[in-house]
């Protein structure tokens, strides 16, 4: 029973979504199913938040390794939730100037808005910017010319990188007009539009067929591993 009901829900959901794509009368059913998912996800969010708090509080209380990070997490969580719920520093809405709580919780002047703008955004930007260094280190490793294939990869990458710079245009600017297709920027465009696009499409066709196959296995209950059954 514990597995039969989820299996039936999965099958019904999958079939409804397929049918709604082809039968006009059922078009809204697909949207309803998606809405139900969003409701479930919203409820699960409370579950996730509770789990986060419980886990880190336990770490702090038991002073496990790295409990300092957990303490920062718990404090940040409680403070952000508190200032958001209590609307600390939120100016009243224009239509209701006499009601202190009428403004939106994330107004720019609010404590929540301040935390978002001056704490959260710089932190996420910092992590994102690390990507530049990681790309450099990964490229350095990937483009080592160990064999013919690696050499080809290196050559193509070099050409693409050069084609995206002013130097690329400058280096082949002397070529006559009728050979313009062989300038480095044009070669870059050809590589991206022909070779890369063809490879990408092949991968995407494979992904689409894979999705069809796994969807069918899940809908028909052939693959039940997500329910923990072989």
């Amino acid at each position: 029973m514990k597995r039969t009901v989820p299996l039936l829900i999965t099958a019904a959901g999958g079939i409804v979504l397929i049918v709604s794509f082809f039968v006009p009368y059922t078009e809204s059913w697909g949207e309803d199913a998606t809405m139900w998912f969003d409701i479930l996800a919203a409820i699960a969010f409370v579950l996730g938040g509770g789990n986060l708090l419980r886990m880190h509080l336990r770490k702090v209380l038991q002073q496990q390794a790295g409990w300092g990070f957990s303490a920062i997490t718990v404090i940040s969580f409680v403070v952000t939730l508190g200032v958001g719920l209590l609307k600390v520093g939120v100016p009243p809405a224009e239509n209701f100037p006499n009601h202190a709580w009428s403004g939106v919780y994330n107004a720019e002047e609010s404590a929540f808005g301040f935390a978002y703008e001056y704490v959260f955004k710089p932190l996420t930007a910092t992590i994102f910017s690390l990507l530049a260094f990681y790309v450099a280190s990964a490229a350095f490793r990937a483009f080592r010319a160990k064999n013919i294939e690696a050499l080809l990869l290196l050559g193509t990458a070099f050409l693409i990188l050069l084609g995206r710079t002013f130097a690329g245009a400058l280096l082949t600017a002397w070529l006559p007009e009728r050979f313009s297709e062989f300038t480095i920027p044009e070669l870059t465009v050809t590589i991206m539009n022909v070779f890369v696009a063809a490879g990408n499409r092949a991968i995407m066709i494979g992904i689409a067929l894979g999705i069809a196959s796994i969807s069918l296995r899940v809908i028909l209950g052939i693959d039940r591993s997500y329910l923990g059954k072989e």
Binding site: Y25, L52, F128, M204, G206, I214, D223, G228
Partner: protein, 435 residues
């Protein structure tokens, strides 16, 4: 008389006559103009002011048809532009068209729906009652609100709901063929017919990776993507997690599953618990190892990368949907020397995984992972069924490329028509409503 002098004399007379005629003609035209002006003034005094405006010519050929492949709430109205729908028409120039409708019932009056701009020759009325008959009226509106003679549909039209969206008929046929082939091969596998599936290196290495973690006494990291459970790649990741969890339970290795979505955490817990139970190690299951981190993409990446640097897992799996954080995670794993297996449905992230991971599942391999790892004939049969889909795609590509080449070289109209049909109808999953 000298003929030359005679000609000159005649020419002089002709010029004089022409001058007289011109003067007379001008006088006549002036008289006419004065008379016209007088009569116009008289008419202007007699007629109401509205009739004086420059009335544009009406729109022609108004036509209303039921919108195809819809739920029966829409009718397409089209018309030919008024001859005055051009800037050169001066004061007669059309500013827009007023569309009105009335139900096909006695005493029903036209209600205005909308005014569309000049140059528009179609309108879709999306607020129809199913099966109710309507007449449509189009009036060209000129400058100063001058209205043309109305053009009305000759017969009523009903909005009808279609049982099947035939615009997606070809797509339905392809879906049925591919799904039918998958089911056929599943059935063949159930009957015991041996099916060969090629070796996937990344999946063959799963057991080795889990064993390595056990030998080193370190944990296994499994990230089932960063998207929610409604993404099929996440489901694929969870199905692989089930196999990995079973292996981890059998090898007595520790499994760490951080998630970015609460629902994924719940599903992952259920899956891992069931796998530990299936492996006969329910006592080894620890729910705290499967936890929610944050919904924020880079917050999640920072938390997981930080944990990796501190705990140094021996093995890392990244299977699901990933975006920019793919390289952040994979490079961190590479830096700590973990054996890494990755797979994603985001083609843009594949190069990063290829560069930083030991094994990468490309394209359909991620979705084949669960079936491959299970080794069950019926699941492997579904993988063989995909090959029929690949064959269809291959044939369509070959036909399309051939036709496009023929069109480019010879400009053959028949080949162009077939190519247009292939591109516009067969390969178009959701054609727009005809206008």
């Amino acid at each position: 008389m000298n003929p030359r002098l005679k000609n000159r004399h005649d020419a002089g007379f002709n010029r004089r006559d022409a001058k007289i005629a011109k003067i007379e003609g001008t006088a006549l035209r002036m008289n006419l103009a004065v008379a016209t002006f007088r009569w116009t003034a008289v008419i202007c005094m007699c007629l109401p002011a509205g009739a004086l405006r420059a009335q544009p010519a009406p729109a022609n050929g108004i036509r209303a048809v039921d919108t195809p492949n819809d739920t029966g709430h829409s009718i397409d109205v089209s018309w030919q532009l008024s001859p005055d729908d051009r800037a050169e028409a001066g004061p007669h120039a059309v500013r827009g068209y007023e569309i009105a409708r009335r139900a096909d019932t006695p005493n029903a009056a036209f209600e205005v729906l909308e005014e569309v701009r000049a140059g528009a020759s179609a309108y879709q009325d999306k607020k129809c009652d199913p099966w109710r008959a309507y007449f449509y009226r189009v009036v060209a509106i000129g400058a100063d609100e001058a209205r043309s003679v109305p053009a009305v549909t000759p017969s009523p039209v009903r909005a009808v709901m279609q049982l099947f969206n035939w615009g997606r008929g070809w797509f339905a046929l392809i879906v049925v063929t591919v799904c039918g082939a998958i089911l056929l091969f599943v059935q063949l596998a159930r009957m015991g017919i041996p099916l060969k599936v090629r070796k996937i290196a990344g999946l063959a290495a799963v057991e080795e990776a889990v064993g390595r973690a056990t030998e080193m006494g370190r944990s296994i990291l499994f990230v089932p993507g960063i998207e929610d459970l409604k993404y099929i790649a996440t489901v694929a990741g969870i199905t692989v997690l089930s196999r990995v969890a079973r292996l981890a339970a059998e090898h007595d290795a520790q499994l760490e599953v951080p998630t970015r979505r609460s629902l994924v955490m719940t599903a992952a817990r259920e899956t891992v618990q069931a796998s530990f139970l299936a492996a006969g190690r329910p006592d080894a299951y620890n729910a705290d190892r499967i936890y929610y981190v944050t919904d924020e993409q880079f917050g999640f990446a920072a938390a997981v990368a930080g944990w990796m640097m501190r705990s140094k897992p021996a093995t890392a799996f990244y299977l699901g949907t990933f975006y920019a954080e793919s390289l952040l995670l994979a490079e961190t794993g590479n830096a700590i020397g973990a054996i890494q297996i990755a797979g994603t449905d985001e083609p843009a992230q594949l190069p990063f995984f290829v560069a930083a991971c030991d094994y990468t599942l490309i394209g359909e391999e991620l979705f084949a992972a669960s079936a491959y790892l299970s080794g069950e004939p019926q699941q492997l049969g579904s993988l063989k069924g995909q090959d029929v889909g690949k064959t269809i795609v291959g044939v369509l590509i070959a036909v399309g490329v051939t036709l496009a080449s023929i069109c480019a070289i010879t400009s053959a109209p028949r080949a162009q028509r077939v190519l247009d049909y292939l591109k516009g109808t067969v390969l178009k999953a959701a054609p727009e409503s005809s206008e």
